[in-house]
């Protein structure tokens, strides 16, 4: 409730600011599509909150080239039909110049035909690699591809001379994408998958899979899922006395995972965006300034820890702001300027778009972190 009321407060304040500047130039309208309710609300809510927060801040600081931004955000409920209706409304009724979101890969793929036909630039906050492969003229994205996280883990395994791994993935969209990437990249790193198991998103015991892994001759275990499954895996592994190094995915890179796994989290390694280790980064890190600003602001406005999901929306708005500053508020100009973005240090990584790359990140977008004493620590 506190979050809701503070949201309303910022809304009222921003309305008041808008009313005060009613005589100035009309605001630049930006559309937002977020899965604020429904099963993907853990993505949509922080994204919507962050986008509104950033827009308010930009306006408080004088807007973009003297014009205010106006965010018109609709809830897709994680449903393709509703996402398409909302996208149509943004384009035809609200006449936005660009769209941020949607939150999930499914919603994004659903609205792409509508957005491409209307020739409106869109920056998706979803991770699926098929959003930007093959490259679509009007579509960009800010969330890191799952493949980059796999590359981080495999790089570390190679450094430690580990070649036999067991993979344990959740049977949903996130898990199946991870499993695909883990299998596809294994050869390139000289890694052999000796055990390949899955678990259901609502399973509460993974002892059977882990017992099988124990006898498989694996030298490390990689688990791919979002909360709470991986916490169960960590606790079961500890109970079974499994002494192998345990890797998790970026799907659990928040303090919530440590809370769920408790003592069993100790020593777990995972690739993550830099946001959870913002204050540990060296001062030479290009993203540090953006990260610290985001974390501090989110804490102030919503009394909660800013996570990398909100970060996707932060990056999207900032990328748009840069494009509008350079090329004006015409959708075609925004698209062209987005494609020319080079070296923008945001929350998800350092973005460099090009005509052949609308995802814009390299595997440096992820750092490897280890859980030590109930906190995240950077692995050098």
């Amino acid at each position: 409730m506190l979050k809701k009321s503070s949201f309303i407060l910022t809304f009222v304040v921003s309305l008041a600011i808008l009313a005060g500047s009613a005589l100035a130039a009309p605001p630049i309208k930006i559309g937002g599509l977020f899965a604020v309710t429904g099963p993907a609300s853990f993505l949509g809510e922080p994204e919507r909150n962050t986008a509104q927060m950033v827009v308010n801040e930009i306006n408080a600081a004088g807007g973009v080239k003297g014009r205010k931004l106006e965010l018109i955000a609709y809830d897709t409920q994680g449903d393709a039909t509703k996402a398409v209706q909302a996208a149509n409304r943004l384009i035809k009724e609200d006449k936005v110049v660009a769209i941020i979101g949607p939150s999930t890969t499914g919603d994004t793929m659903a609205v792409i035909p509508v957005v491409e036909k209307a020739k409106i630039p869109m920056i998706s906050c979803a991770a699926g690699s098929k959003i930007t492969e093959p490259v679509k003229k009007w579509i960009f994205k800010t969330a890191q591809n799952d493949g980059l996280a796999v590359a981080r883990i495999y790089g570390d395994l190679k450094r430690k001379n580990i070649s036999k791994v067991a993979i344990l993935t959740v049977s949903d969209g996130f898990g199946s994408s991870g499993r695909e990437q883990l299998k596809a990249q294994a050869r390139a790193y000289g890694i052999q998958i000796v055990s390949d198991d899955t678990y259901g998103p609502k399973d509460t015991d993974m002892t059977a899979q882990l017992t099988k892994i124990k006898g498989s001759g694996a030298q490390a275990v990689i688990c791919w899922g979002t909360n709470p499954g991986p916490a169960v895996v960590s606790r079961n592994a500890k109970q079974l006395g499994l002494k192998l190094p345990l890797y998790m995915s970026h799907g659990v890179s928040s303090k919530k995972f440590i809370g769920l796994a408790g003592d069993a989290a100790e020593g777990i390694l995972l690739p993550s965006g830099r946001v959870i280790v913002a204050d540990l980064l060296s001062n030479s890190d290009r993203q540090k300034k953006s990260l610290l600003a985001f974390v501090k602001d989110y804490q102030k406005h919503y009394k909660a820890e800013g996570d990398h999901f909100g970060g996707h929306a932060w990056d999207a708005i900032m990328l748009l702001k840069g494009a509008i500053e350079r090329g004006g508020d015409n959708p075609a100009a925004i698209r062209d300027q987005l494609e020319r973005t080079r070296g923008f240090a945001g929350i998800g990584g350092v973005f460099s778009y090009s005509p052949s790359d609308h995802a814009g990140l390299t595997k440096d977008a992820f750092v490897l972190v280890e859980i030590r004493k109930q906190d995240f620590a950077l692995v050098k």
């Binding site: 809701k4 949201f7 604020v36 309710t37 429904g38 609709y74 809830d75 994680g78 449903d79 393709a80 039909t81 509703k82 398409v84 209706q85 149509n88 409304r89 384009i91 035809k92 009724e93 999930t104 890969t105 499914g106 919603d107 793929m109 659903a110 792409i112 035909p113 699926g128 098929k130 049977s171 949903d172 969209g173 199946s176 994408s177």
Partner: protein, 328 residues
């Protein structure tokens, strides 16, 4: 005889008026996004009419109708996008296949009554939903299936909301006409007899078991066609559109609109599709308002919108009439 003929005439006049309304409705939207919303109203009306035949007339509940809708959409999508088949042919083949499937599962399932029938259809819906998610190679899994072509006819591609509006409403109007015909025939009377009492219907010589399965299969065929149209309009499908929630939404459309009324299905589908758009003004509280509205409608219009609105209008007219008399 004369009575039933005048009744049919009355039905025809209603249908023609409704058709004229639908034909000229786009003029009111001026190419805005509401045209797009009404494309979906058309698809939802098709589904609600299909479910109403089963639920409103025959009195058999189904909490798995989103599955037939989804099977139509996915099968059409896969046949045309992956295998390059003709979309119209695919639509017909898929509808026949889904109808056959419904016919086969209808025999054991429709022996059940009430809550047990609800459970069985619910189970079927969930199985199909899981299949959409898990058969990744075929369906693309949770992140969906894209690249479905638009329908085309004689060189005209249905690639805009305007063209799709007339395509989908054309199909829907034909379905409405056929359904009106069906429910006013011997079969329709048989269905209503089953609704009131299966034993009495059997005594009157209605083949209860076979008729129930037939109407279940017909309902599935219409839902499958709606699914194919949806897939070709959206050019994308993903499992979330065909889950349990959507099955419940369909049942809500039929009940809010009016059980056993074809035009009620249109009202229910239009209301439930438009309401979220109107309620966006309430921001985060839209779901609360939505729920309250549904509660009030079922409390004060238990016969559905199709019976509740005329009653409400009648009451207002009477009251204002009484009021003006009092003034005089």
């Amino acid at each position: 005889m004369t009575k039933s003929r005048s009744f049919l005439k009355h039905e025809m006049v209603k249908f023609i008026l409704f058709t004229i309304l639908i034909l000229f409705l786009p003029l009111a939207f001026k190419g805005g996004y509401l045209l797009n919303v009404f494309v979906f109203v058309g698809i939802h009306t098709l589904l609600a009419v299909a479910l109403n035949l089963l639920l409103g007339y025959a009195g058999q509940i189904s909490l798995g109708h989103a599955a037939f809708f989804g099977l139509g959409a996915y099968a059409s999508g896969i046949l045309t996008a992956t295998h390059g088949q003709n979309p119209w042919l695919a639509m017909a083949v898929v509808a026949a296949a889904v109808g056959t499937l419904a016919f086969i599962i209808g025999f054991p399932i429709l022996k059940l009554k009430g809550h047990y029938l609800a459970m069985a259809t619910l189970g079927f819906g969930i199985i199909v939903y899981i299949a959409f998610n898990e058969a990744v190679e075929l369906t693309g899994g949770p992140s969906g299936f894209s690249g479905i072509p638009n329908l085309s006819l004689g060189g005209v591609s249905f690639d805009t909301d305007f063209k799709n509006y007339y395509l989908i409403w054309g199909m829907t109007l034909v379905t409405i006409l056929l359904s009106l015909n069906l429910v006013n025939s011997r079969i329709g009377r048989g269905l209503r007899a089953i609704h009131d009492s299966e034993v009495a219907a059997r005594v009157m010589g209605v083949n209860v078991r076979f008729l129930k399965v037939q109407i279940f299969a017909l309902s599935a065929v219409i839902s499958s066609i709606a699914g194919s149209l949806y897939a070709h309009t959206m050019t994308f499908v993903s499992p979330t559109s065909f889950g349990f929630n959507f099955s419940v939404e369909l049942v809500t459309m039929v009940i809010i609109g009016g059980l056993g009324s074809i035009y009620g299905s249109f009202l229910g589908a239009a209301l439930l599709t438009l309401l979220p758009e109107i309620l966006r003004a309430f921001q985060d509280y839209d779901i609360v308002v939505y729920g309250l509205l549904l509660i009030f409608m079922t409390m004060f219009m238990p016969g559905g919108l199709v019976r509740g609105i005329p009653a409400l209008v009648g009451r207002i007219v009477m009251r204002s009439g009484a009021g003006s008399k009092a003034d005089a």
